[in-house]
C-alpha cells in the first residue's frame, strides 16, 4: 500500500496540535483542539484508503482495480457529520458557560477546591503552585463595561422565557406529603 508521507506528517501534526489545544483551560481552545483531532482522525481514515484512483462506480467498463477504495470515504463523510454536530453542541455549551460566568474556561470543581484547601496546611508548596496565575485565565472580556454582548437573564427582559430548569417546582408546596397519601 503506497501512501503519501506528507499526509502522514500532516496527520501527526494535527494530532499533536489537537491534543495540545485540548489541554488548555479555555473552552474555545478545547473546541479548536477537538476540531483538529477530528480532522486528524478523518485524515487517518483517508490515508488507510491507500493510493487514490478512479472514482468508484464511474463506468461499468472500468477495471475495478483502478478504483480508489470507497469505504473509507463513506466512513470519513459520516465522521465529518458527527464532528460537525458535536462542535455545534460544544459552541452552544461554550456560549451558555460564557453567559453564566462571563468566562469560557473549564471551571474548578468547588469540592476539589475544598479538598485542596484542606490539604493546604500539610503541603504549602502545592498550594502556591495552583493558586497563582491559573485563575486569571479567562476571556479577554473581564468586566461588564467591556463585554460586547449584554447578557440577558429571564428577569432582564420580559419577553425572554427561561424554560430550562426541570426539577424546580412551579410554586413551593406547603407540606411534603410523602408517599403514603
Amino acid at each position: 500500500m503506497n501512501v503519501s508521507l506528507v499526509l502522514i506528517i500532516v496527520m501527526a501534526v494535527l494530532f499533536a496540535c489537537g491534543v495540545y489545544a485540548m489541554l488548555e483551560r479555555s473552552l474555545t481552545r478545547v473546541l479548536i483542539g477537538f476540531l483538529l483531532l477530528g480532522n486528524a482522525a478523518n485524515l487517518l481514515l483517508l490515508i488507510v484508503m491507500g493510493a487514490p484512483g478512479n472514482a468508484p462506480f464511474f463506468q461499468e467498463s472500468t477495471d475495478p482495480s483502478s478504483f480508489s477504495d470507497p469505504l473509507p470515504q463513506a466512513l470519513t463523510l459520516t465522521a465529518i457529520v458527527i464532528t460537525f454536530a458535536v462542535s455545534a453542541f460544544l459552541l452552544a455549551l461554550i456560549y451558555r458557560s460564557w453567559q453564566l460566568g462571563q468566562a469560557d474556561t473549564v471551571e474548578d470543581d468547588a469540592t476539589d477546591v475544598a479538598l485542596r484547601v484542606r490539604t493546604a496546611d500539610a503541603d504549602e508548596e502545592m498550594d502556591q503552585e495552583i493558586t497563582d496565575d491559573d485563575d486569571d485565565a479567562t476571556t479577554d472580556f473581564l468586566d461588564a463595561a467591556s463585554t460586547p454582548i449584554t447578557v440577558l437573564g429571564n428577569r432582564d427582559f420580559s419577553g425572554l422565557r427561561d424554560d430550562a430548569p426541570t426539577d424546580r417546582g412551579r410554586a413551593p408546596r406547603s407540606e411534603p406529603e410523602g408517599d403514603e397519601r
Binding site: 483531532l37 481514515l45 453542541f89 473549564v106 426541570t166
Partner: protein, 523 residues
Amino acid sequence: MSALVPLLVTLPLIGAAFTLVFGRRRRIQVAVSLSTLTAVMVIAAVLLVVVDSGEPLAVAVGGWPIPFGIVLYVDRLAALLVLVSSVVLLAVLLFSVGQGAADGDEETPVSIFHPSYLILSAGIFNAFIAGDLFNLYVGFEILLVASYVLITLGGTESRIRSGVVYIVVSLVSSILFLAAIAMIYGSLGTVNMAQIAERMGELPQDVQLVLHLMLLLAFSIKAAVFPLSFWLPDSYPTAPAPVTAVFAGLLTKVGVYAMIRTETQLFNDNDVNLLLMIVALATMIVGVLGAVAQAEMKRILSFTLVSHIGYMVFGLAIATPLAIGATIYYMIHHIVVQTTLFLAVGLIERRAGTTSILKLKGLMKAAPVIAVLYFIPAVNLGGLPPFSGFIGKFALFDAAAEVGTPIMIVLIVGGVVTSLLTLYALMRAWNLGFWREDGSEEPEVEARVEYLGDAPAAGVQTERRVIPRVMTAATAGMVVVTVALTVFAGPLYDICARIGDGLLEPVHIVQLDEDAVQTGAGS
C-alpha cells in the same frame, strides 16, 4: 423475523421526531415515548426467543452485500441486552414522567427531554446490535450526543461545569475509537466484526496488541475502568435523578459490552488478561474506597458504580466460557440494580430535601415505602444472599477459583473485600438515614461519621417535594425486576452460560454465511 431488527433503532428515532414535533404537548410526547419503548421491548423479547432457539440474525441495511454495507447483527447477547435496557429505559421514563407531571406545567415543559431520551435509546440499541465496528461507533456517537444534552439539561451552572468534563472526556474516547477503526481498516481492510475476527490471526502479534489496546482504551473510558474513571463520580451526581439513573445503568454497560465483544470475538488470540486483572482489582478497590469516603448518596452510588465495573472486567480477564457467562449475568444484574438504587435515591431526595447521609434522619417512620425500595436493591448490590448480586459474584468467584492461579485468588479476595465495603457504605447510609430517630441527639454516632463532614455536598439542603405515585410505582416496578432476577436466576443464568459458550467459539459468527443472511431494506 429479520425485518424486526432495524425497527429496534428506527422506532425510537421516529418516536424522537414525533416528540420533537409535538414539543409543547406533553400528553402526546409521553404517549409516543411510552409506546415506542414498549414496542421495542416486545420486539426485543421476540428476537430473544427467536435467536435463542436458532441462529443469530444478520441484516444488511440498505441491501448492500454483507461485508460492505452496514450490518445489524442480533445474537443472544445483543437481544438479551436490548431487552434488559428497554425495560430499564421504560421504567426510568415512567419515573421522569411522574416527576415532570408534578413539577412542570403546560406552559414550561422541558420539550427537549423526550426526544433526547428516545435518541439516547436508539443509540444504545444501535450499539448493541451493531455488526461492524463503524456502526458501533455511530451508535456510541448517537447515545453520547443525546447524553450531552441530557446531562446539561436546564443549563444550570453546576450542570454546565460537570457536563464540560463529561463531554470533553467522551470526545477524547470517541476520537481514539475512530482512530482505532481507521488503523484496523488499514491493517485488515474491513470494519465488519466477523471479517475482522477471521483475519485478525494473520497479523503479527505486536500489531494486534496495538490495535487491541487502542480499542480497549477507548472502551475503558466509556466503561469508567480505573484509571480512566475519574470523570464519572464528578459528572453524574449533578444531573437530574432519572438521567443519572439511566446513565449509571446503561451508558457504562455499553462500554463493557464493547469490551466483551473486543475480548471474546475480535482479539481472541491476543492476550492482555493479566493487564485486565490488575486493572479490575484497582477499579474494584479504588472505586469502593471512594464510596466509603463520601457523604452524599448520589456520589456514594457513583463510586460503587465504578467499583462494580471492576467485577465485569475481572470476569472478562478470566476468559473462560463460565466466566464470560457470569460476567453477562453480573452485567444484567448491575444494570437493573444500579438504576433502581439511583431511582430510590431520587425519591429520598424529594422526600427529605437532601441526600447527605449526615442530614438524613428518621426516614423509616416518615417514609416506610421508600425504606423498602432502598433496602432491597442496597442489600442486593452489597451481595447478600439470596439476591442476584450474590449469585453473580458467586458465579464469578467460582469461575476464577476453577482457574486457580495465585492472581485469581488475590482477585477473589479483592472482590470479597469490595463487596463487603459496598455493603458497609450502603448500610451506613441506611443506618443514618432511616434508622436514626428524627430529632434525637446521638453524639456517639455523630462523632463516628464526623470525618465525612468535609466530603463534597455534605451539607446541601433543598426543598422537600411531593412524591407522585407514578414515581413510587416506577421504582417499585424496578425493585420487582431486581427480585425477579433472583427468582428466575436459573433460566437467565442458562442463557448467559449459552452466550458465554457461544462468544468464545470463532465459528459462531455466521454473518458471512449466506444462508443466515437476508438482505432487508432498512433505514
